[in-house]
């Protein structure tokens, strides 16, 4: 299918473009960007007046729960949620059952996504076999079979030597290591951020320093070995500071945060709301401010959702028993657009953090609308107002802290490999 996307505000930081332009898509690739372009033969024309036209959004941190936990989400429902949220690519974490620690599972995901999915799915393999934290996965084969990074997301690689060797080994292969930075002993039985709210609610707290110590270790290991590392879901003010300082020293560290960490504080837990329970936990106002500052000054490279679907039966329970995590694919774009509305980011920076940077960090060769690039394109309607309703979410799971709340901004259309896969 060929396309002419007319009169949109094309924002492509990879080419320093921000202008009202037309985009021509032919045979799944971007053919041309310019003013007053003609539709190629047999092309569908999309009027993008009043919309932003940006390189397809990339969520570098999601849990698709497939294989093994399909009652929460699967590749079909998860990628439907992705394109409804404007994402053309997602990177899925390896804590499936079985773990993505071998070629068979990676291939299963890639093949199922190609056959039945709505967007590109790039698997992330595990650093250690079965997420055991004990011995390295076959990273070479994981890379060959299509994995774009390795991570034990959900838990840290506790053994510092194994983590250091994994960084060195992965660097040799040319695959990024994504760290879940957490010091487990300090987390203990904690279920929310340690602070005044945990004291009032009588819930065991998780101190910020549990994340900060691990963030510091990762940056030091990367510095010592001279290898790259990416830190997942940064949530604390001191982790932002540690990463900022490491970057200033030339350490090859990148990081991401999630919309809930710049939108909510641990106040959201009040009422023992299990949809505000995640790991790392929601922090306090000073952390939210630091996360925003880190986004502004470039310390934080990417916005990723950590989309973590859980069945109602796993959330509609006592607080301590509830699973960690919330869904995020369908709310990430409007929440991130608020950063632009509030002057935290420019639109260009936002597109960087939701498309160009994730692509560059993981080498996905997307995140651009340059002629000849794969035509992954998101059309954003910045004014669209809508309400988050459980029965309208494409995700199988409904564990969102924003249910019933108003959102502003949405994907107007999502185009993957030149094909319109979603239209609002």
């Amino acid at each position: 299918m060929n396309l002419l996307i007319k009169n949109g505000r094309v924002i492509d930081p990879s080419q320093k473009l921000d202008d009202t332009l037309d985009v021509v898509v032919e045979n799944g690739l971007v053919k041309e960007i310019g003013k007053g372009l003609k539709a190629p033969a047999g092309a569908e024309t999309i009027d993008a007046t009043g919309k932003y036209v940006v390189p397809g959004l990339i969520d570098m941190h999601v849990h698709l729960r497939d294989p093994g936990l399909e009652y929460k989400e699967d590749i079909i429902s998860g990628t439907k949620a992705a394109v409804a949220g404007g994402f053309t690519s997602v990177c899925c974490m390896p804590n499936t059952k079985p773990t993505i620690d071998n070629k068979a599972i990676a291939s299963y995901i890639i093949n199922k996504a190609k056959a039945e999915g709505s967007c590109n799915v790039f698997p992330v393999g595990s650093i250690t076999y079965g997420l055991s934290g004990e011995r390295m996965s076959e990273m070479g084969e994981l890379k060959e079979s299509g994995c774009v990074a390795v991570s034990d997301d959900g838990r840290p690689v506790k053994n510092s030597e194994l983590m250091m060797r994994s960084l060195q080994y992965a660097a040799g292969i040319g695959i990024m290591v994504i760290s879940h930075a957490e010091e487990l002993e300090l987390v203990g039985e904690g279920t929310m951020n340690e602070g005044y709210t945990s004291t009032e609610l009588g819930l065991k707290g998780i101190p910020r320093v549990a994340e900060d110590i691990a963030t510091a270790r990762e940056t030091m290991l990367a510095e010592y070995t001279g290898t790259p590392i990416h830190i997942a879901h940064v949530s604390t003010k001191d982790s932002v500071r540690i990463i900022r300082e490491a970057k200033a020293r030339g350490v090859k560290v990148t990081c991401e945060t999630a919309p809930h960490y710049f939108t909510l504080t641990d106040d959201a837990v009040r009422g023992y709301n299990t949809n505000a329970k995640m790991n790392p936990p929601l922090r306090e106002a000073a952390d939210v401010a630091a996360i925003k500052a880190g986004l502004t000054d470039g310390t934080i490279d990417a916005i990723a959702t950590d989309h973590a679907p859980h069945h109602e039966d796993e959330k509609d329970v006592e607080f301590n028993v509830a699973m960690n995590g919330i869904i995020g694919l369908e709310t990430s774009l409007p929440l991130s657009l608020q950063l632009v509305e509030n002057g935290v980011l420019t639109l260009n920076q936002l597109v960087d953090k939701m498309s160009c940077n994730p692509s560059n960090i993981l080498g996905l060769q997307r995140g651009t609308l340059a002629a000849g690039a794969v035509a992954d394109i998101t059309l954003i309607d910045p004014t669209c107002e809508w309400v988050v309703e459980a029965d309208k979410l494409a995700s199988k799971s409904k564990n969102s802290p924003w249910l019933g709340q108003n959102m502003k901004g949405a994907a107007a259309a999502t185009i993957v490999n030149g094909k319109v896969v979603y239209q609002r």
């Binding site: 602070g195 005044y196 009588g202 819930l203 707290g205 009422g271 023992y272 329970v317 006592e318």
Partner: protein, 310 residues
């Protein structure tokens, strides 16, 4: 008489000063029943109360059971160690099944903070919290305040020292919530590993670095039970050293006012948080607390049923 508008009693944080006054004054009236030869009134005849205990308890469960029986309610006790953290029926399913048997009140103790709010969203009978995690223990807070009122005739302007593991104590939280509303001042002290962040913002609370500071001129000294299983782990070295710095004894009690009362929610580790002479001494109100517990729980059961005294 003022009206009690709450269907549930889950936390003293949710109650007003007037609510607390009403619960305490009704408890004072209930004591008369407990001193009769025939300790029974027909007030809650035909009402069914289920005591659902997910944690071991002797005192509180017995006290609630006796309270229900003295008001002529039918009481049933369920003690189970299995919660939904272990494999088995979920709390919600257990509660819905019990509800199908049409109880009027479920009195529950549960190890997870906030589980009573979770339940209150799902079922339509009254819920009374007999202790949830480290959150609240409202009947204990009320009986403690009733006991203080017995001694001082008032609940405002008292200096109350609470000593021990504040972080894990639902008794401390309920007392802080209640005493602050009644106009008293709480001084807490314990090893810094057992004092939770921001506790001073929970109410009229001052955190004291040493136990002696907290004891200074106190009207009430409330000692908390130190959990044996915390010994030798990360929060403190051992009971011996704990007792040295945070144990109440005949020497440090002298820092408190001469007529200060000594309290403990039980069960007591004699020789750890309190010396035996303090437990059994003249200043101890510990057994009076237990006695008042029955009256306070009668008052709570009565008020959530919304009835009039016959």
């Amino acid at each position: 008489m003022a009206e009690f508008k709450h269907k549930h009693i889950i936390a003293l944080r949710d109650l007003s000063k007037e609510d607390i006054e009403l619960l305490i004054s009704t408890a004072e009236n209930m004591r008369e029943i407990n001193s009769r030869d025939i300790k029974k009134v027909p007030t809650l005849r035909g009402k069914t109360i289920i005591n659902l205990f997910y944690e071991a308890s002797t005192r509180t469960r017995t006290s609630f059971e006796i309270a229900g029986k003295r008001l002529s309610a039918d009481t049933v006790n369920i003690t189970t160690s299995s919660s939904s953290t272990t494999k088995g029926e979920t709390l919600s399913d257990t509660a819905l099944n019990l509800l199908a048997m049409k109880p009027d009140i479920i009195v529950m103790r549960h190890s997870v903070s906030g589980s009573h709010y979770f339940l209150a969203d799902k079922i339509n009978c009254s819920i009374i919290n007999a202790g949830d995690g480290a959150h609240e223990h409202p009947s204990q807070g009320l009986l403690d305040m009733l006991t203080m009122k017995d001694k001082f005739g008032r609940l405002d302007g008292l200096k109350v020292a609470i000593i021990g593991d504040i972080t894990h104590s639902r008794v401390a939280r309920s007392n802080i919530q209640g005493l602050t509303k009644m106009g008293s001042h709480v001084f807490v002290s314990g090893p810094p590993t057992m004092v939770p962040p921001g506790v001073e913002k929970l109410g009229n609370v001052t955190v004291c670095a040493t136990m002696n500071e907290a004891l200074q001129d106190a009207d009430v000294v409330m000692m908390l039970r130190i959990q044996q299983e915390r010994q030798g782990k990360t929060l403190m070295p051992n009971a011996r050293e704990y007792s040295r710095y945070f144990g109440l004894n005949p020497n440090n009690i002298k820092l408190a006012k001469p007529n200060a009362m000594v309290m403990h929610p039980g069960p007591i580790n004699r020789g750890v948080e309190m010396s035996t002479s303090m437990v059994d001494g003249d200043q101890s109100w510990i057994l009076k607390q237990v006695e008042n517990g029955v009256a306070v729980r009668m008052s709570m059961l009565y008020h959530v049923c919304g009835g009039e005294l016959e």
